[in-house]
Symmetry: C2
Subunit: 281 residues, 2 copies
């Protein structure tokens, strides 16, 4: 099978590596605005050839779009225009409603499968790509009824080859749940980094004292704006809703401390501890 990757970064690169390793794919074409990324991906054997959009699509059975969600919305209709009815295109974006909406009335809509692998790191670029990244994680397929059965089948094969398990969901539900599970974590982490950078003027002290706890909470704050501004933009309403709730939860801690109500503080923490039972099932 021949694969084209539009955006040879962390996610696109990791998928290509794994599918080559599993011998599902025997040729990978890379399409990217950045020549540096393409050259790096070639050198790392992530892709076998550079191509422009037209040639890349022509020479592939499956096309994976792995670029920021706003750019995905723009390029997806063009990709469908260039495709035949025997090809499949999937994306990997962290928001789904806007992307699905952008091709709702496209004549070739059924060749597109809206996909989101529940994995990522704060790093980017082909050099960050790791074949084993997705192992054991969930892969969400949205609005399956809008895709052709053979296209869904193709994506399911890819998801299995990535050692992921498939979850089906509609795009609106996906965007709501990811606001809770993923997008708010990033805002929290960014705001925590900004708090520490604002309050702690002694950078060396941050570096010297930073424990594994701090590093893990603030890890996501290293994630790049090129990827995350579009996600927050596309999922604005859900993210704002969860962010408001988060601020009011923080105010409960503030109030408990101010009033020295340490019993209530203990209750807030005990409630938070319930996440253990859910995450460690």
């Amino acid at each position: 099978m021949k694969l084209s990757i539009i955006g040879v970064g962390l996610i696109g690169g990791s998928i290509a590596l794994k599918l080559k390793e599993k011998k599902i794919v025997d040729f990978v074409c890379g399409i990217d605005n950045s020549q540096d990324n393409l050259n790096e991906a070639l050198a790392l054997n992530i892709i076998d050839e550079k191509a422009d959009l037209e040639d890349g699509i022509k020479n592939s059975d499956v096309i994976i779009i792995a670029i920021p969600v706003d750019a995905t919305r723009k390029i997806l209709p063009k990709v469908l225009d260039l495709m035949s009815d025997s090809q499949t295109v999937m994306d990997v974006g962290s928001t789904k409603a806007g992307i699905v909406e952008s091709v709702k009335n496209h004549a070739r809509r059924s060749r597109f499968v809206a996909f989101h692998p529940m994995w990522g790191t704060e790093n980017n670029g082909p050099k960050s790509a790791i074949a084993e990244s997705f192992s054991g994680k969930a892969g969400v397929i949205c609005n399956r009824e809008e895709s052709a059965q053979d296209a869904i089948k193709m994506v399911e094969t890819i998801v299995e080859s990535l050692d992921m398990h498939t979850i089906f969901m509609n795009a609106e539900a996906h965007d709501l749940h990811t606001a809770y599970i993923s997008h708010i974590s990033h805002i929290t982490s960014y705001a925590l980094a900004n708090t520490v950078l604002e309050k702690e003027k002694e950078e060396d002290t941050i570096f010297q004292l930073a424990s594994s706890g701090f590093s893990s909470t603030v890890r996501l704050a290293k994630s790049h704006p090129e990827m995350w501004v579009p996600i927050f933009k596309q999922n604005k309403e859900n993210v704002l809703d969860v962010l408001n709730e988060h601020i009011s939860q923080l105010k409960k801690f503030k109030s408990a401390l101010e009033k020295e109500n340490f019993e209530y503080l203990g209750e807030l923490i005990e409630n938070a501890n319930k996440i253990r039972g859910i995450l460690d099932k």
Copy 2:
């Protein structure tokens, strides 16, 4: 050298394991309110003998107090009362000013070294103890001038044996910095867990979709109130100060989203990205 550990949990247990492995310590006495903890620590070879406070102190060269910070404040004067001038006691608490204050005028103050290893996990109990825990992390000694030189020397030897590097700081500075670097991370993580538990009623969806990003941000929310309520209590003013700043940082994200000022949102994220340069020095 003979060691007594008051509180054979995660931290006390991990220290004992490492010091035995390094052969700095050849006998460990365990003192704990929980018989279960003591039996577990015996079975895991963390301690060699159970003891009550009086016998444990009598039979040791060094005593390490590894219990919640409010309990440390209470027990420390009693421990000093029972000690001779050739023995050394150290604590491992995450707040230092209150503990140092509690023995300020004690006749045997100089036998105490106020210590804080910058490591911990969300787990507790002897079974969570790991000898390699502290490797490469900072160990903070506070108010060194209030301790006898030989007591400081002894603690430095222990810190080196734990493969940590020593930082000296006064207790007030320590409490301020840990509010930034550690305590606020815990509140953020607790509040994030409570946000998700409040908004996301579909527990199975949390479990299925939770990515590594969410898990790492919310990891600290598993930490127990028995340990953390006393820390927040003892460091109330600093924690409140940082918490207020954190809430106002979150409100900047909220405002940027509400006003659809995505340029500003990008700037906030770019600023947060600076933490990469500080943490990855």
